[in-house]
Amino acid sequence: MRTLRFAVIGLLIAAASVIGWRAIRARLQPQTTLFSGQPATAQPVGPQAENSSAQAPSVAPPGSESARRLGPFSIAGRDYTVELHTKKVRPGSTDEQDDTVVAMEIRDAAGSIQYRRTFPYVEAKEEYFASWSVSAQLLIGTNGTGLLISYDAYSEPSAPEEEPTGWFQIFGVLNGKFVPFGAPFEVHGGLLNEYVDGHTYKAARPLGPEADVVEFKVWAGHCRLIYPVRVDWIRGKLAPAQECPKSADGLGAGCQYKVVPEDKLYNSEITFVRLWPNPDEKSEKPEKTVLKKNSKVDLLAARVATHWTEGNPAGPAPDSKRPMDDAGSFGVTSGGVAGNDLWLKVRIDGKEGWMHSEEDFRALGLPEEE
């Protein structure tokens, strides 16, 4: 009897955790809805197809499908809306958390489809749940305005992560035509709160007369660095805003990035970290610096090798079950290669220096992936 009671309590706690987690995710993505679809596709849509597409039946069975509209977003004097077609992963459910996006369409003011991307539909099973969500924000820079689309996948069971992995795609108007600025980019991180203002995301700064720098949060293993992307409004191109030196093996030898302050450091007792004057172990002997529970710690900069991989602008492979397989990526180069490890510049009670290695990150109380 007692065992049964514990089992029931356990199930209730697990269910509450899942609902809570999904609710938090939904709240973080204000213009998000879940939709369904069959094989994944993504395509800019031509003028002739636009009209027919506007009334074309959805790829998914229409029975349980619903639609939601985001926008309008005003770009270069024209309004665009994002239409999300959703389906319940648990048929018959009335819970919005059970929605998954099966198709996303960007339409102009006349209702013509300018871009369409579909997502696979997988019905939830008792032990498995997978869904897609899409959100849209107006991207506002000094030299241009565009649309920033975020794609997120959620599945259960899944390991907890410090930062989720999502995809971002920027659209703009080029020669009067609404187009994607390349393929989506996969990012282990997300948007920076400081640039989010309602349904808009602000560029960090202008870069010359034709481009803006848009910053993203990227998980670096123990901290979140700020990765700047150059958005060229005239050519419709994205590129890293920082040039990094390459090592002899062709891998990035490391760039210096700003770091997002951590809300909480997990140090509970007196300890120490080793601070080097430069991000190089061989430069000098490190200074052992006392870290107390109430020490003032500032994360100043990160030096780490990063990568930028272009995606496939032609979209996902036909009949692909992976809707984002056309995506490129940017972020921190995976470790294991000499010289590619993370160096973090910190200030501890007024003392500045560079640290790296698991033992120092752990001593400082930085987050780490479980």
């Binding site: 007196i270 300890t271 120490f272 970290v273 052992k288 006392v290 698991e358 033992e359 120092d360 752990r362 001593a363």
Partner: protein, 342 residues
């Protein structure tokens, strides 16, 4: 039949020998007793002295150890005012059973090295033997601090003759003309037999930071000498030599700093886990629990010297337990690298 354990620990030490020994000994060896003098003595007086210790009863025979020394008159530092120039082991009739001469150098009115020796009789189930412990101290110079090195000689009565036992053999290794040293064999039916059961002695030897007690297995009557431990560990998918646990003796000199720091590892290996960063303060409680080190034996002349590598110390700092190593961290717990006090 197969050889049983890789790791052999002396469960029943027959006898314990405490002999002072310092690592890093390189210079102590048999040398012709030819004096060299590179500086003028103030009064030019070099005196001969002789010390006799014993008798030491070995297999029913008595032996005495005679130490021949040179002494300098009017030398400020008494530690460098005398040195051993020869050692003899004589039987009861006064016949020399063993002798060894050592060179010496006089520089700036003192001996450049001070060599001393002491003898001790050790007995066990396999008989009795003689252990000679040598200690050599080199004078400090402008560019270096004083260095101390130590060596040993072990003597047993083999075939009726007093003989030096030489370098300890590895466990399970072939003894050059001697007996197998304590290898246990297990038959197919599970019967375990011990081919020979030597005595175990412990040598108190100094690493660069503290003393450890190094076990040796000795068969006095057959002239066998082997290492007391052989420790292997799985590293990178294969068995490799690793350090052995040893008792430790420390004399701590706590640093005067307000804070000192140590990286506390969960195992005596840099590659096992992420070390904890521990800050020690003046009131921190530090307990020394043991040590782990790889010991190899060098033979220099007829003297044997242990060489320690991968030296780890097992400690408890306040409520945290773990392993530390390296000059910085050992100094942080009050064990700076260096020679032992005189």
């Amino acid at each position: 039949m197969k050889i049983l354990p890789f790791r052999w620990k002396p469960l029943l030490p027959i006898c314990t020998l405490a002999v002072f020994l310092c690592s890093g000994a390189q210079n102590l060896s048999s040398r012709p007793a030819a004096p060299q003098q590179s500086g003028a003595l103030r009064d030019g007086r070099v005196e001969d002295a002789e010390q006799r210790t014993g008798p030491y009863a070995i297999a029913g025979r008595n032996y005495a150890v005679v130490l021949h020394e040179k002494r300098l008159a009017n030398v400020g530092d008494p530690a460098l005012a005398e040195t051993l120039t020869a050692l003899e082991i004589r039987d009861a009739a006064g016949n020399v059973a063993y002798q060894k001469a050592f060179s010496y150098t006089i520089d700036q009115s003192h001996f450049q090295q001070n060599l001393s020796a002491s003898a001790e009789r050790v007995s066990g189930k396999t008989g009795a033997g003689l252990v000679i412990h040598y200690r050599e101290q080199t004078a400090a110079s402008l560019t270096s601090t004083a260095q101390t090195s130590e060596s040993w000689q072990l003597f047993g009565l083999v075939n009726g003759k007093l003989a030096a036992l030489g370098k300890p053999m590895p466990i399970g290794g072939p003894a050059a003309g001697g007996p197998f040293m304590g290898v246990m064999m297990r038959a197919a039916n599970g019967t375990v037999s011990v081919i020979s059961q030597p005595d175990t002695i412990e040598v108190r030897a100094r690493t660069r930071y503290f003393y450890v007690f190094v076990p040796l297995r000795v068969d006095w009557n057959h002239g066998g000498l082997a290492r007391g431990q052989r420790c292997m560990g799985m590293i990178g998918g294969g068995l490799q030599k690793v350090g052995c646990d040893m008792r430790v003796e420390v004399v701590r000199k706590p640093p005067a700093d307000e804070f000192t720091f140590a990286r506390l590892f969960v195992e005596a290996s840099e590659n096992m886990g992420v070390p904890d960063h521990v800050v020690m303060q003046k009131d921190s409680k530090i307990a020394i629990l043991g040590s782990r080190t790889i010991t190899t034996w060098n033979e220099n002349g007829e003297l044997i010297q242990p060489v320690f590598s991968d030296i780890w110390l097992h400690v408890r700092i306040d409520d945290k337990e773990g392993w530390i190593h390296g000059d910085e961290d050992l100094a942080a717990v009050g064990l700076p690298a260096g020679s032992p006090a005189r």
